[in-house]
C-alpha cells in the first residue's frame, strides 16, 4: 500500500514538473518577444538621436577623409532615473551624399540590456536622410523647385535582430 501511494505521488510529481516545464517555455518565449520589442525601441531612440543631430548640427556628421565616408558612434540610453537600459550604435554613410542621390544612409543597432554586460537582445533598423535642397531634375533651372521633404527620414526598414 505504501509503495502504491509512493508510486502515485511520484507520478503526480512527474506530471506536475512536466506542466511546469511547459509553462517555463511559454514564459521564456514571451520574455524573448518582449526583449526584441525593447531592442527595437532602443534602435528607434538611436534613429531619433541621429535625426535630431542631423537637423540641429550642420557640421554633423563631421567630415572625414575621402576614403572614410562612414561615421559611427555609440551612446548609452538611460531611463528617466538615470539607469542605463541599453545602448545604440549609429552609422551614417555619406557615400551617396552628393548629387544626384543626395541622401545619407543611416544604420542603427539597438542593444537592450545593461551596457556593461552582453545584450539581452539586439535589433537593426535603417533609414535614409533626404539631403536634396531642390527637387531632383530642377537644380539646373533658373528657379529650382525647393524640395519639401528635405531633412526628413525616408525608407525606414526594420531588419530584425538577434
Amino acid at each position: 500500500m505504501l509503495a502504491f501511494g509512493l508510486l502515485v505521488m511520484v507520478l503526480l510529481l512527474v506530471m506536475g514538473l512536466g506542466f511546469l516545464g511547459k509553462q517555463a517555455d511559454t514564459y521564456r518565449a514571451s520574455a524573448q518577444t518582449a526583449a526584441a520589442s525593447q531592442a527595437l525601441e532602443v534602435a528607434m531612440a538611436g534613429l531619433e538621436d541621429a535625426r535630431v543631430k542631423l537637423m540641429k548640427d550642420f557640421k554633423f556628421p563631421p567630415p572625414g577623409e575621402v576614403d572614410q565616408p562612414q561615421y559611427c558612434y555609440t551612446e548609452i540610453l538611460r531611463d528617466p532615473g538615470g539607469q542605463a537600459v541599453g545602448s545604440y550604435t549609429v552609422t551614417i554613410d555619406s557615400r551617396w551624399k552628393g548629387p544626384p542621390s543626395s541622401i545619407l544612409k543611416i544604420e542603427v543597432w539597438g542593444y537592450w540590456g545593461d551596457p556593461d554586460n552582453p545584450p539581452i537582445s539586439s535589433r537593426r533598423v535603417t533609414a535614409e536622410w533626404e539631403e536634396a535642397e531642390f527637387l531632383r531634375g530642377t537644380e539646373s533651372l533658373a528657379t529650382p523647385v525647393p524640395n519639401p521633404e528635405v531633412g526628413r527620414l525616408m525608407h525606414f526598414q526594420d531588419h530584425g535582430g538577434l
Binding site: S101, A127, R136, E149, R152
Partner: protein
C-alpha cells in the same frame, strides 16, 4: 512488547483493506475527473493561444510592413477591406543595386523610383484566411481571421483590428501604427 509485535504482525483485515482500497479508488477517481477537466481546459486554452499567436503575428507583420511603407491606402470595396502598401523592395539583391557600394548612381536617380518600389496588399477572404499579396507571391499570413478592420484617421496613423472566433468566444487584437510617411 509482545502485544505490539502481535499487533504489528497482524496486518489489515479484509474489511480494512477493502475500505482503504475503496478510499484510494474514490480519490483516484476524483483526481482523474479533475485531471480530465484540467486537460480539457488546457486543450481549449492551447487552441485559443495558437489562434491568437497566429493573429498576433499577422498583426505584427502588417504593422511592421505599414511602418516601412511610403504610401498606405485602404480600399473599402465590398466584401472585404484591402490594405495596400507601397514600399521599397526589401530584396537585398535589389537594394544592393539601388545604392551601389561605390556610391555612384545614375543621373536620373530618385529616392522613390517606381522600379525600386513594390506594392503589397493584405486582405481577408471568404474562408477567413488573411493573405499577403505582392506581384510575385501570395502568402497565407493567418487562418481563422473572423474580422479585419482598418482605418486611417489621419495621414500618419493607421488603426488595425483583427479578430479570431472559436465558437462564441471572439478575441480581438488591435494596434495603432505610426506611419513613417514621406511622400514621393
Amino acid at each position: 512488547m509482545s502485544r505490539l509485535n502481535s499487533s504489528f504482525n497482524k496486518g489489515l483485515s479484509l474489511a480494512e483493506t477493502m475500505l482503504v482500497m475503496t478510499l484510494v479508488m474514490v480519490l483516484m477517481g476524483l483526481m482523474a475527473g479533475l485531471m480530465k477537466e484540467y486537460s480539457e481546459i488546457l486543450r481549449t486554452g492551447r487552441s485559443q493561444t495558437a489562434r491568437l499567436e497566429l493573429v498576433q503575428n499577422a498583426l505584427t507583420r502588417m504593422a511592421g510592413e505599414a511602418t516601412e511603407a511610403s504610401e498606405v491606402t485602404i480600399s473599402d470595396a465590398e466584401p472585404f477591406q484591402t490594405l495596400t502598401l507601397k514600399r521599397l523592395n526589401p530584396d537585398p539583391g535589389h537594394q544592393g543595386q539601388r545604392l551601389p557600394n561605390n556610391g555612384i548612381v545614375e543621373t536620373s536617380w530618385k529616392p522613390f523610383r517606381p522600379a525600386d518600389m513594390i506594392n503589397v496588399s493584405y486582405r481577408r477572404d471568404d474562408s477567413e484566411r488573411l493573405w499577403r499579396v505582392s506581384s510575385d507571391e501570395s502568402l497565407e499570413v493567418a487562418r481563422d481571421v473572423s474580422m479585419l478592420k482598418m482605418e486611417k484617421p489621419d495621414e500618419f496613423t493607421l488603426m488595425l483590428k483583427l479578430s479570431t472566433a472559436q465558437g462564441r468566444a471572439v478575441k480581438t487584437l488591435s494596434t495603432r501604427v505610426y506611419l513613417f510617411a514621406v511622400r514621393p
